[in-house]
């Protein structure tokens, strides 16, 4: 009889951490597909580049920490970070932008704090914010779908031209002469109002509304709507698979809709968008289902999750409407991360057989 020491219990549920991570990536698929449809292969290039960099940095970090990389790489967590990070940066970002962002996310935001499970802040959002602070121009320059480039060439994402443009955007050193570069960058600069729209920089939305441009009717607007619906579908899949609990997404979505409905005044010049715009015209769904639910940095108690979502929802709206930053989801999630340990401490459930949840024992008579 071959004896083996088994750590009980001997029976286990089937889903494993690496499976959970894969499921999260699968759940991103509808959103990614729609994003590719509207923004071209730049998105896919971002994801591929970010994943490659992420795995390399993860292996490096593990090696530096004196751990063997193979088993830990298999948990797939770094791929989730890479995909979520890639989805937040503009398609067609140059390779060094992707690399430095994901490098910060993996090396500093994740491993400097002790690796998977120890990071207090969402690594993907940390990487994104560092890029936003360091390279604001690059981070707010997006492709214009179906836009006319200056030289009159039609630019459709799925054409060979579109793919070539995406590749050139990602690897600027491939561009042979300067003549192709200049109109290309000009063409991209056209996208900035869209970005402001995406980040819900409300002045841009208002300008668009004032000039009777049907913002959501535009191809770009529809793209964002569909992308959000894609993330919503992915999020519902995660809920169905019980990989995330409903508390955080529902709390965020309810909070954002409630506040935007409260402040929305149809005929005024106030700078508040409709609830619809706030939910589907920005990164809300991605944030609510994929980013805020990152279990490591989120609150883990049931009531804590609800309050966590409430805080994030409030700050998403506040930053969009009253703040000066363009993007709000990333900052809001990091703000929630800051509060999560306190929320968990305050929202502990009542233990079986106890009257109320226990408070910390009084400080250990330190004054003696």
């Amino acid at each position: 009889m071959a004896m083996r020491y088994l750590a009980g219990p001997q029976q286990h549920a089937s889903i494993a951490t690496n499976q959970i991570m894969l499921q999260v990536i699968y759940a991103c698929a509808p959103g990614i597909a729609i994003a590719i449809w509207y923004f071209g292969f730049g998105i896919l290039l971002n994801i591929l580049l970010a994943s490659l960099f992420a795995v390399a940095f993860e292996a490096l970090a593990l090696r530096l920490r004196g751990l063997s990389p193979a088993p830990q790489l298999r948990d797939n967590s770094v791929l989730v970070t890479a995909v979520l990070f890639a989805l937040t940066i503009p398609p067609g970002s140059p390779w060094w932008l992707v690399g430095s962002g994901i490098g910060f996310a993996v090396l500093i935001a994740k491993h400097a704090f002790g690796g998977l499970g120890q990071n207090p802040f969402n690594p993907a959002m940390c990487g994104y914010l560092v890029l936003l602070l360091a390279f604001p121009l690059d981070m707010t320059t997006w492709h214009v779908p179906n836009a006319q480039l200056l030289d009159g060439q039609s630019f459709t994402p799925f054409s060979w031209n579109g793919l070539r443009q995406s590749l050139l955007a990602s690897f600027p050193f491939l561009i042979g002469s300067e003549s192709t570069l200049v109109p290309y960058i000009d063409g991209l600069a056209l996208a900035t109002p869209l970005i402001e729209f995406k980040m819900a920089g409300t002045s841009a939305i208002l300008t668009a509304l004032d000039t009777n441009a049907a913002v959501l009717g535009k191809a770009a607007g529809t793209g964002w709507e569909l992308m959000n619906i894609g993330y919503l579908i992915g999020g519902l899949y995660l809920l169905y698979r019980r990989i995330i609990s409903w508390h955080i997404p529902v709390s965020i979505i309810v909070t954002v809709s409630a506040i935007s409905a409260l402040f929305y005044a149809p005929n005024s010049f106030a700078i508040y968008g409709t609830p619809y715009l706030h939910l589907l015209g920005s990164a809300t769904m991605l944030g609510a289902f994929f980013i805020a639910t990152d279990p490591v940095s989120a609150a883990t108690t049931t009531r804590g999750k609800l309050v966590y979502g409430l805080l994030i929802g409030c700050s998403i709206y506040s930053i969009r409407v009253w703040g000066s930053y363009l993007d709000s989801v990333a900052i809001a999630v990091l703000f929630g991360n800051f509060c999560a340990p306190l929320l968990d401490h305050l929202c502990r459930p009542r233990i079986y057989g106890h009257r109320k949840s226990r408070s910390l024992p009084a400080m250990q008579e330190q004054d003696r």
Partner: protein, 544 residues
């Protein structure tokens, strides 16, 4: 002490309720339930631990070399925590020495080794035909004499539990047939075939503890046992309650919640609520003891696992070596990976199969790799919170885990480590394969060691101070003897001239410390009052 929270129960309609958390693991019970409960051939040797329950206290009545008859008492209990032990068959005592016992704190215990003679000569039994007319006291006396202990797992002497229940006043007797742990099927097999006997046992237990109500609680996924119980209960005042089949509904605290909706307050027992819990197997043993006059010498054990060709339930004699039982079921040694005593979630792995069956052994799993695959390597905790969703005590296992890893004892206690019942539901759902229960057991052990160390250091500190005091006292008295008129030096403690004992000393020391502290606080307060109006206060310095 009387029950306070539970006084209105007799008129209250009971309904099943949900426990906190819980999991639904694959039951794995069908294999062992295919056959009926089988009697067992006599093994060549029986190993009988003298103390069945840790903390019990019994002493042997027999010597090495004695010939004993079946049902003959082998031990007598020294106090109420003990339970008598009887010879399961006839034979000769070959040794009384330490032998390996699973689940015992030291993994070994003092055992009586009985060489079976194969004749099975027994003492005359005295069945009791009019058992329904016995008084509670008579029932209790018979249970006590039969050496019955709780068959559910803890092995607490049943008679003692009944006595405590009578003291507290019992309003509800719950017969726990919610055998929620995977692989174990003893209660289900027992109820399927001997429901009438279990019901009589429950009646006898109810008589013994004077409970007005009795409920047999069983999980709803055991249709055969439920049908048998229904017909056995046809003319009985005992109620039947079908519980949700969730692990760990059968736990002591959980079944109280599932049946009554009440929670056992921390630091208390169901008895404090006026609830007495007994296992269905115990009820059957009570039936045997009272109606048939048979002491507790056997119990029903599930033998299962893919390494066995014929998994089944045995009515096994106490003291049978595990290996003998496994052989009876056709164990395939080449596939046999490990033997687990108990279910797959809380069971203990047996170091070797020579360990005997005790009165609390309910299940033996001869596992293959398919039963218990090699666990995946432990990954980092991602705080997914699955564990918190299933914890029946509503703890936060993910937080406890991080505190256990950092040895944060204050937080461990504040997050309720002591409330963990070690059911393993958290580790069952953990996607990172963290053996959470092991961490908690280790942390509990650590806390226990620390508190013992603290007590000891306090003890030695007091002793040292007493030693100092005594040497000083001796020196002083020597000086006084030399110069009888000299002034006595300033004394450490206000004592009279007679030397004091160590206990008095520590009491005086404590009193003086309290007095000093009060004085310091008063001084601090008065100095604060004085300086309040003039300037921001300094932290008051203690002056000794």
């Amino acid at each position: 002490m009387s029950s306070t929270n539970f006084l209105h129960l007799p008129r209250q309609q009971l309904r099943r309720r949900k426990i906190f958390g819980g999991i639904k693991p694959a039951p794995h019970k069908a294999a062992s339930l295919r056959s009926r409960i089988m009697p067992m051939p006599l093994p060549p040797q029986l190993i009988l631990p003298i103390n069945q329950y840790h903390g019990t206290n019994s002493s042997p009545l027999v010597k090495v070399g004695d010939a004993v008859l079946k049902y003959q008492a082998l031990t007598e209990k020294l106090d109420h925590t003990g339970a008598a032990l009887h010879a399961p068959t006839s034979g000769r005592i070959t040794a009384i020495c330490s032998a390996p016992i699973a689940g015992h704190p030291d993994n070994a215990a003092l055992c009586i080794h009985l060489q079976c003679d194969g004749d099975d000569n027994s003492l005359e039994l005295q069945p009791c035909l009019n058992h329904d007319q016995l008084t509670g006291f008579e029932v209790l006396r018979k249970i006590d004499a039969a050496g019955i202990v709780g068959m559910g797992g803890a092995g607490f002497p049943t008679a003692h539990k009944l006595r405590l229940a009578i003291e507290h006043g019992t309003e509800l007797l719950i017969i726990n047939a919610a055998e929620c742990e995977p692989y174990i099927s003893t209660d289900e097999a027992l109820l399927r075939e001997r429901a009438r006997e279990v019901v009589i046992g429950a009646e006898l237990l109810r008589t013994a503890c004077h409970a007005p109500r009795c409920v047999i609680a069983i999980e709803e996924d055991k249709p055969a046992a439920i049908a048998a119980l229904r017909s056995a209960l046809a003319h009985s005042p005992i109620e039947l309650m079908l519980l949700h089949s969730t692990y760990p509904t059968g736990g002591e605290k959980q079944i109280v919640q599932a049946v009554t909706g009440l929670e056992v307050p921390v630091g208390q027992y169901p008895l404090n609520l006026g609830i007495l819990l007994h296992n269905a197997g115990t009820a059957y043993a009570v039936y045997q003891a009272v109606a048939e006059g048979k002491p507790s010498i056997s119990r029903i054990i599930t033998l299962t696992g893919r390494a066995l060709q014929t998994p089944k339930n045995f009515e096994a004699l106490i003291g049978t070596p595990v290996a003998f039982l496994l052989k009876l079921c056709g164990v395939q040694e080449q596939h046999h990976l490990t033997t687990v005593m108990g279910g797959s979630l809380m069971g203990l792995q047996l170091a070797h199969t020579e360990a005997p069956v005790t009165k609390t052994t309910n299940c033996l799993i001869a596992a293959t790799v398919e039963d218990f695959p090699q666990p995946e390597p432990e990954l980092a905790c991602i705080r997914c919170g699955f564990c918190a969703e299933v914890c029946p005590a509503r703890l936060l296992p993910q937080q406890l885990y991080s505190f256990a890893r950092t040895h944060n004892h204050t937080q461990l206690q504040s997050y309720g480590l002591d409330d963990c019942i070690e059911c393993g539901a958290c580790a069952y759902v953990c996607p990172s394969n963290i053996p959470l229960v092991q961490y908690y057991v280790a942390a509990k052990q650590e806390l226990r060691t620390l508190s013992v160390a603290r007590e000891q250091s306090e003890h030695w500190q007091t002793r040292f101070q007493f030693h100092q005091y005594r040497t000083k006292q001796e020196k002083d008295s020597a000086r006084e003897r030399r110069i009888p008129t000299a002034l006595s030096p300033v004394e450490l403690l206000p004592t009279d001239s007679s030397p004091i004992t160590s206990v008095q000393f520590s009491r005086q020391l404590a009193q003086q410390e309290i007095a000093d502290a009060v004085a310091r606080a008063n001084a601090k307060r008065s100095s604060r009052l004085a300086t309040d109006t003039q300037m921001p206060q300094h932290p008051a310095k203690d002056k000794e």
